[in-house]
Symmetry: C2
Subunit: 418 residues, 2 copies
């Protein structure tokens, strides 16, 4: 029939029993008449263990050697999963990143995929094999082993699906699909049957981590349909992530997420002359600090205030940079707000429906939730609220935008933050 | 100065502390002004653990997938050892079998090395790097991962030394060098300062396992000097294994070893016609059974007896084959002797000195040790004795051939059977 790429994460292959369960899920797809390529991560906490071992050897392990070390984790998984598939009488073979030819840039620990060779994959598929490929790893044109960084295995799977022109890429996970928000906060939240790449990207960017934005971006670019589904319930088809053009939009808001990992920094009394904002954000960009929400406002005394949010990991550096600029530009006080959460609603249907923003602000007001900052994009509206109000906001917004279901979400294992 | 290849086994890199000790031994050689290539095995019991894991997945793991799995063990070691070396401020990098280009036949789990590429090794050495190479593994011309089987890492080291034309290959182990016999039996046994490839090979074949015969044969073929030395005592130069032509022979007997893993099979009343022996040993060879000692004798009734020894692992198969032949040739009874040990003296100096055999037999007789079978080669004499007499024989022969020292052997860690 077609080619299906399946991806199983570390928890799905954490022990021998789970590896056999994955083997059965793989075989089920093969029995459907499809050619199957399986991408797997390292078993359970293997990667963490290896990093710990490296840190015991030296405080600052070299990133090239760390990639050499970490890539063994997936190589163990692919060998064991292949043995498990073979034990049911199916033809299978494993391939590491080098053997497939998952070509990346030569940037250790966070390489991006440049090209994926398909000749060996096609040859082995044509010979009737199920192919088990090591996720998260690649190789440079010089034969150096690289790893892909966060979201790596998802990205491997989607990129292989794109290269081999697969019919679908199935990402198996601990949840039944993509929910409109975190089921721990709203237990009867709706699961989406379909969602667009754009919505998934926005949801991922505002704090949902079912899928890393990298993999969704790759899927969008090459138009690879992704199915997010549960490895514990093979009968549930989960959520299909596809291009907007294929979708009927039923709801203006597809998902709601909160991100509590940001800090707001405000500089007041900046001179109202051209180039001020460029100086502030240029200096931050030079230090590779991503700025999320930005608001500039003119005060009555003719000076500007600029408020923006950064990830809490970048806080120290950011404050240092902003202090330098304050002194240089003779600006006013810097104020820091750590007690914030960004609550976002995301939906491709928003584009055509005025009043969604107003509905959001009204719902928050009715629940006595103060809005500290607002930012909007084509398919997203984000409001900064106080941290302790984040869950209340999500519940209120789920009700407002009809994202509750009659049944509670089924959640097994570690739940990602959606 | 020159190029030194060092090899460290699994016990030498069993934990983080030991890895740092190895790093210091490597750095010491680098500080001597040499280019250094280090070959390492998997940490401690990693390989056993991985095999156990595979057996939990399936009773009969595929040998290709087992190679994929096991080769990760050495990849972990090389990354960690490289990090340790770098932590002392030295330039280093790791390479797996595929990256070096250790080309083997495509026979999984016991591949032989066909070729070793030296271009990358030379490039990295020229850039001032210490290179840490994964032992035990190779890659086929098609990019399939193979492992080299027993004695693999020693063979990797010697083969790399041969390919790069190294000045020496240092095999670091738990003992201080090559002893004339097992120090557990004769505590004050002499350690050899030098020994020839041929002597080392014969010692290895008759039961000593300081070095696998494969690695010694490779060293002999490419004339690579090997130094067997202790990883616990870097000041001791251990034993140098070199070609006979370079050696002064001080003693007629270099070493004594016993092998208790053999079984003697005797067939009597075989017809004294041409081709009888060929039938017996042809049938055994067809089943890939190695026969060690062979004695054929003519009885007074004009029939032949053939006695030979096989490894105890091949016993069942051998008896079955011999029974078939007995019936076919209408031979007499088959008798089995499991209570045997083969005691061998080995020495290149034997060639020119008559009377060594007589001295051996006399020493055994004086100790009331009965000889069941004798076989000789150019530089080896082996006698079958009763199992319980093996240690007594070794002690007597050490005394006879002057292989005792004034000091006791220093043994740390697991002692190989020499």
């Amino acid at each position: 029939m077609g080619i299906i790429v399946q991806k199983f994460g570390g928890t799905s292959v954490a022990d021998v029993n789970k590896i056999h369960n994955v083997a059965k899920a793989v075989i089920k797809e093969k029995d459907n008449g499809n050619d199957v390529i399986v991408v797997v991560s390292a078993m359970g906490h293997t990667t963490d263990y290896l990093i710990k071992l490296a840190k015991e050897v030296t405080q600052k392990p070299d990133s090239r050697e760390l990639d050499m070390l970490l890539s063994t984790g997936e190589q163990v998984s692919i060998a064991l999963l292949t043995m498990a598939i073979q034990s049911y009488g199916y033809k299978a073979l494993s391939m590491n990143g080098q053997q497939v030819g998952i070509i990346t840039e030569c940037i250790h620990s966070k390489a991006r995929i440049v090209d994926i060779k398909t000749d060996k994959l096609k040859k082995h598929l044509n010979e009737g094999n199920i192919i088990v490929v090591a996720g998260f790893q690649g190789v440079t044109p010089d034969g150096e082993i690289t790893t892909l960084g966060r979201g790596g295995s998802d990205t491997s799977a989607v990129a292989i699906a794109a290269a081999i022109k697969a019919d679908r890429c199935d990402i198996y996970t601990d949840v039944e699909g993509v929910y409109a928000t975190d089921p721990r906060i709203v237990p009867n939240v709706l699961k989406a049957d379909t969602i667009s790449y754009e919505e998934m990207l926005e949801l991922a960017r505002v704090g949902a981590n079912v899928l890393h934005p990298r993999s969704v971006e790759t899927a969008k670019q090459f138009n690879v349909p992704i199915r997010v589904r549960s490895s514990f319930n093979l009968d549930n088809l989960g959520t299909l992530i596809i291009g907007v053009e294929n979708m009927e939009i039923y709801k203006p808001v597809a998902g709601i997420a909160a991100d509590s990992s940001q800090i707001r920094i405000l500089i007041s009394n900046l001179p109202d002359i051209p180039g001020t904002a460029a100086q502030v954000f240029g200096a931050l960009a030079n230090k590779n600090i991503s700025v999320d929400m930005i608001i500039q406002s003119l005060a009555s005394n003719g000076t500007n205030s600029i408020a923006f949010t950064v990830d809490e990991n970048d806080f120290d550096y950011s404050v240092q940079i902003v202090n330098d600029i304050k002194n240089k530009l003779n600006a006013g006080e810097i104020s820091i707000d750590k007690n914030i959460a960004k609550v976002s609603i995301v939906g491709a249907g928003m584009v055509d429906r005025p009043g969604i923003a107003a509905d959001m602000f009204k719902a928050l007001a009715e629940n006595d939730i103060n809005i500290k900052m607002i930012s909007t994009s084509e398919i997203k509206i984000s409001c900064l609220v106080e941290k302790e109000n984040a869950n209340k906001a999500i519940k209120a917004l789920c009700k407002t935008f009809g994202l509750e279901s009659n049944v509670e979400a089924v959640v097994k294992g570690d739940l990602p933050n959606l």
